[in-house]
Amino acid sequence: MINDQPKFLTMGDRSLLVELSDEISLEVNRRVRSLYYSLSHRKLNGIIELLPSYTSLLVVFDPSVLSVSALRTLVTRLFDSPAETRIPEPKTVEIPVVYGGDFGPDLEWVADYHRLNPSEVVRYHSDTVYHVYMIGFTPGYPYMGEVPGEIVTPRRDTPRTHVPRGSVGIAQKQTGIYPVESPGGWQIIGRTPLVLFDPHATPSTLLEAGDVVTFYPIEKEAFENWRQ
């Protein structure tokens, strides 16, 4: 359910958390995105950073330039007229994945957990169209949903200290891709040769919130010969 009015929560003296719902849904996430674009288009003096997430938008501002009350008034007005904002068309990205083996060390475990064959897990994962709800954690890390009920899997009990770049994971109803090597607790079922983050490229991330993603299986040989 989307809130009738945005709920404002204080995060210090220089940021305001605008919550649109306490439940994750596509509709709520679209409203977050719409609010992000309407604020961003205004190029308002004093706004430093806008951080859209699943159900909320964090507005980081300079309190010496912009008052909280002016910000709240503006956000409420923009929330009430979402149709006025032009939102860019989301792009669709197809992501090749080598499932299982060294590249997907948790695939067998996920399959056993659901009493499925690994190939069935791969089919469920790659037959689904995902929505990118937010980018967070590390540069370009997409939080995508929802994975089919048949393969919804809890995080690993013990997170890994090093998850290789390109690893594709599942955590509950979400699936994600590690753009840089980092610690991580998601169940790793495969790896993509695509580069999700390159600080020297424009844009620097492959994906952004709102994008549509599908996965397709490739062989390890194709991974090694992959050219972007």
């Binding site: 995060m11 210090g12 997430s53 909320s56 938008l57 967070g136 991330t205």
Partner: protein, 310 residues
Amino acid sequence: MSPGLLTTVQDLGRIGFGRFGIAPSGALDRVAMRIGNLLVDNPESEAVLEITLPGFRAKILTDVVVALTGADLGLHINGEPLGPWRSYRLCPEDILSLESLNNGCRSYLALGGGLLVPEVLGSRSTNITSGFGGLDGRPLRSGDIIKVDSPQHYLHAGGRKFDLNAVPSYCNDWELRVVMGPQHEHFQGESCNRFLNAVYQVTAKSDRTGVRLHGPRMIISEGQPESIISEGIISGAIQIPGDGQPIIVLGETVSGGYRKIATVISADIHLLGQVLPGDRVQFQAVNPREARQALWRLEEGIGRFRDSLM
């Protein structure tokens, strides 16, 4: 040069890329960093070296003006002790070394002209966790040579001083002002009281990603799930993970799924760069208006120094 424990290139941080998961990074003590730049006649936003704890040592290869601000890590030039918060004109073959921990945790070495490292995504700050920005995306190593942009044009700035009475005091007992929220109401009322009355100890797991505290456990009210939906976060936010022990988030994160009981105010954020493992931290709740006044006073102090250099 040899970098000691950890030395990185930092500026005011990488702004505007948070929605791509790209954290701000940047100098943790921005007050010290900005004063250091003013002392060597740089723009306040110029990149500097952030040096953690003593052990740093560098040989100067050109005529250059330098200033060391922030923690007092025992500045020596050619073995002679010199005071911090001043600018010095150095010559080729001079040896600059940081030899003892007198107070604070991080020193800022500003060089007149600024560091010659490329901007990546609008900033020269090093993002250590993701490996980009600064010098090749990594901390400095022994043998690295740091180049300065046109140092000969800044030599006039040698001999500047910052009023030592205006230097923030880096003790081992910190009182940090916070604005409560955003999720303080998810905790038992008793927990919030304890949070404001307790003395927390800074643990050895603290680093550039966060100040980790040990003290009374914060307990979530009954009926609240263990984590919340991931949302945006800023530096200074105090998150409470499952073990109930607070972590003050610094600028290497843009989102998180833990509750934030309170957020350190903008005027006190720079102090987080100077707390050491073993230090004690207490929190004092203020309202957003008081927080803004505190920030105004802090900026006024920096502004006075800036004006005095005109």
